[in-house]
Symmetry: C2
Subunit: 465 residues, 2 copies
């Protein structure tokens, strides 16, 4: 009996504990949902993100690392961070690659005795130039590296290789298609050069068909000649592929005078709200400030920078006093070097900083659908407990996944990472092209992303990870 | 012992049954997920929706009920339905209201001796005209009908009432904000006239701020004078509200020559694939073919029509042989009368048709997020069993909700109803304005909506409801 009654008592105590705990969780969730609603209302009613983005895109514009406009963007976002209410705003000097496009590229196709067909093309980022005279050769189209290997040096030598790796339209996740076809741009030049090609043309990595060429980073393998590499528009790629099937004499010519200069100085821009209880614990939220030289970089990644500034502003404006130090970081040089992200972690290590969490937004300012969680299982489970708090904002997809290339290096100092996952259907229509302009950003979508980020930062700050 | 062993045997049998049942469900789900993937691949790779929509928007354009272009749209979609593989295509004659805008409206504000400020404005649909001379009067701004009532006849008489009911930006669901502020447009004129107003200006029902006036339907209450009613752009509404606060002498003038003509003939367009097992059971999928006269009606509701045609095409192209009769219907006159929807159900009753299910897409061709289920609980539970099949397509929100105003009348003949719920953040930026153009539709988003609709139709056809 004694044993039993003890058991019963223990059970009762456990039950009481569970009831109290669940009441506590409910209470906390209610408190949190109220706080998040307050943040949401602030962002949706008084948000500064859209006007800040307009400034970045329309008053500054393209801002490739090392360019005078990148410097203007550094100054402008430092000002915006101050206006958002950051306690401290500072710059982290960082050497960056300095690639320049040179003159506007020219390219055309000559078929037999027909009139020349002008291509919509642009040099790939980091590509070498052709020299003023340009290059001219027959064209070999392939749809995979395997095809390229099969053709081999006999066929390829002296030719311009045309890598027509279309993004797979059947993938619902456009980033999967980008990842798969992206190798044509990243590694195509050296791969083609290894078989003797004298130049590379890649089909733009785009999910739609139009006349915009899409640039983006490429890298050379030092073992092979560093041949010039350009992207042609998807419409041109479709057209060229059809022409090649006719088996008429066909030559491509293009000229680009792009070149890599010596490294130059640039900066990450950092704005902080110092933590009230654990100031040594750092939570980072950021995007990358550099954009391709052809684009206003509205979706990539003006949106992510401006949303990160809005996170600080919204927390401040709604009276949240973070326990931990919240840092909004505009990373420099994501596009063609990743130096800003590396510098940030280098300084973190040097200053023995304690990084709890870092969140990146670099998939566009579209309606947020979720967060990719790049952290351990216990941390993922903790975040999943907050799932219901995101439902009212249409943010359902909290799951293990990628974060972002700027915050990625923070993994080695133990930070839990996450990435905002917006709707990705339109991203690659404009990505790295001159169509990535402010007009293609929706104010409400941009704000929804910002408030979702602010909500996650609020929760991580309050409960830790 | 006997009892116990029977119990155990029964338990075992039950367990076996459950295992078999779950295996069966798994098997069915696998079969279904393969069929849906096939539909998805077909739509994403070979979909005709985008090019059909281009034709409807760019070759035809605005198609208000009763207009020659509405007639062209009837003919064009009948052709598209045939091309999509419908067994039978036919028209349902239907009398529709015939409202015409007349000459381009003019409007301005005169403040003291300052230069006139031109307003971006348009007559509301179904509104009477001012006559060629226009009207001119002082302006009274209110932000609610309660405010209007409080001011009363003494203040309102002889004035132009300016209903500045902004859509609430803090609502995540833009349709909620539209519903709340929409009363200003629907009922504002008679409400203002009941206090002696001589004209109505409403703030455009838009979720952004720009220079486009947004039209839309209004209705008069026969008890009051039928005063002319116009919408002004959101930018103008913000500007005017500021000016009124300065308390300077201010007059508004506007001219519109719109008028309601006598009813005219138009048509619903119907394309069918006849059911192989239960041809008498009808499943309808549709959108509305008419658009406002100012807009190409790309999102509203060219998208929904073209998606419905794509549903037929995709089922046919992937070899689905529906058990039940699948009908794609282009309803006429949703915008300013709803006559097509009424005619459809009238004919259904007359022909003693058996309507199982009807799905409408009339919230834009944006990324689909879910379906609103307007059906009984048992039917909702049945649909919810298919939830996992929609997950790979980002379609999560299957829940009780609204369907659409064209299929709505089918409720009285016992049909279960549903409505596609796409991402709604951008819809009211362009809704009923000349900015609702083809260029604002994303091919991938449009296709995702179409394939989700096709998947739901496929499941309802296979399993019934």
């Amino acid at each position: 009996m004694f044993v039993n009654s003890t058991k019963i008592m223990l059970k009762k105590a456990a039950l009481t504990f569970i009831i109290l705990l669940s009441q506590f969780i409910c209470l906390a969730q209610t408190e949190d949902s109220i706080a998040i609603k307050k943040i949401s209302d602030e962002v949706m009613s008084n948000g500064q993100a859209y006007e800040n983005l307009r400034f970045l895109c329309k008053k500054i514009g393209p801002r490739l690392s090392g360019s005078p406009k990148a410097q203007k963007a550094v100054e402008a976002t430092a000002r915006m961070l101050k206006e958002a209410g950051a306690d401290t705003v500072y710059l982290q000097p960082c050497m960056v690659p300095h690639w320049v496009r040179g003159e506007k590229e020219k390219g055309f196709i000559q078929i037999a005795n027909q009139e020349k067909y002008s291509l919509h093309l642009c040099a790939l980022g980091n590509s070498n130039g052709t020299g003023k005279k340009g290059i001219s050769a027959g064209v070999i189209e392939v749809r995979s590296f395997t095809e390229l290997e099969q053709l081999g040096t006999v066929i390829i030598k002296g030719k311009i290789v045309f890598l027509n790796f279309a993004m797979n339209p059947t993938y619902i996740n456009t980033f999967r298609a980008y990842g798969e076809s992206g190798i044509s741009r990243w590694a195509g030049a050296s791969k083609a050069a290894s078989y003797g090609a004298i130049g590379l043309m890649v089909r733009s990595l785009a999910s739609n068909t139009d006349d915009f060429p899409h640039t983006g980073v490429m890298a050379y393998n030092d073992s092979f000649p560093k041949i010039p590499a350009v992207a042609i528009s998807t419409n041109d790629a479709e057209w060229l592929s059809k022409q090649l099937k006719l088996k008429l004499p066909l030559k491509a010519s293009f000229t680009n005078t792009s070149k890599m200069l010596t490294d130059t100085i640039s900066y990450n821009v950092v704005g902080e709200i110092r933590g009230s209880e654990f100031p040594q614990q750092i939570i980072t939220v950021g995007g990358h400030l550099d954009s391709w030289d052809l684009a206003e970089g509205a979706q990539d990644d003006g949106a992510g920078c401006i949303q990160s500034i809005e996170v600080l502003r919204a927390l401040k404006a709604t009276g949240v006093k973070p326990k931990r130090t919240i840092r909004a970081v505009m990373f420099m040089n994501e596009e063609n070097g990743g130096r800003g992200g590396e510098k940030y972690v280098e300084l973190s290590e040097k200053n023995k900083e304690q990084h709890v969490f870092a969140l990146e937004s670099d998939e566009g300012g579209f309606t947020p659908r979720g967060f990719g969680l790049d952290m351990n299982e216990a941390q993922i489970n903790k975040v999943l407990q907050w799932k219901n708090l995101f439902y009212p904002y249409g943010v359902y997809d909290l799951a293990a996944g990628g974060s972002g290339s700027d915050v990625g290096p923070l993994k080695k100092v133990g930070a839990a990472l996450a990435g905002l996952k917006p709707d990705g259907q339109r991203y690659f229509d404009v990505h790295h092209a001159s169509s990535d302009v402010f007009e293609n950003v929706s104010k409400r979508e941009l704000n929804l992303g910002a408030l979702s980020m602010a909500a996650l930062i609020y929760l991580v700050d309050k409960y830790g990870l």
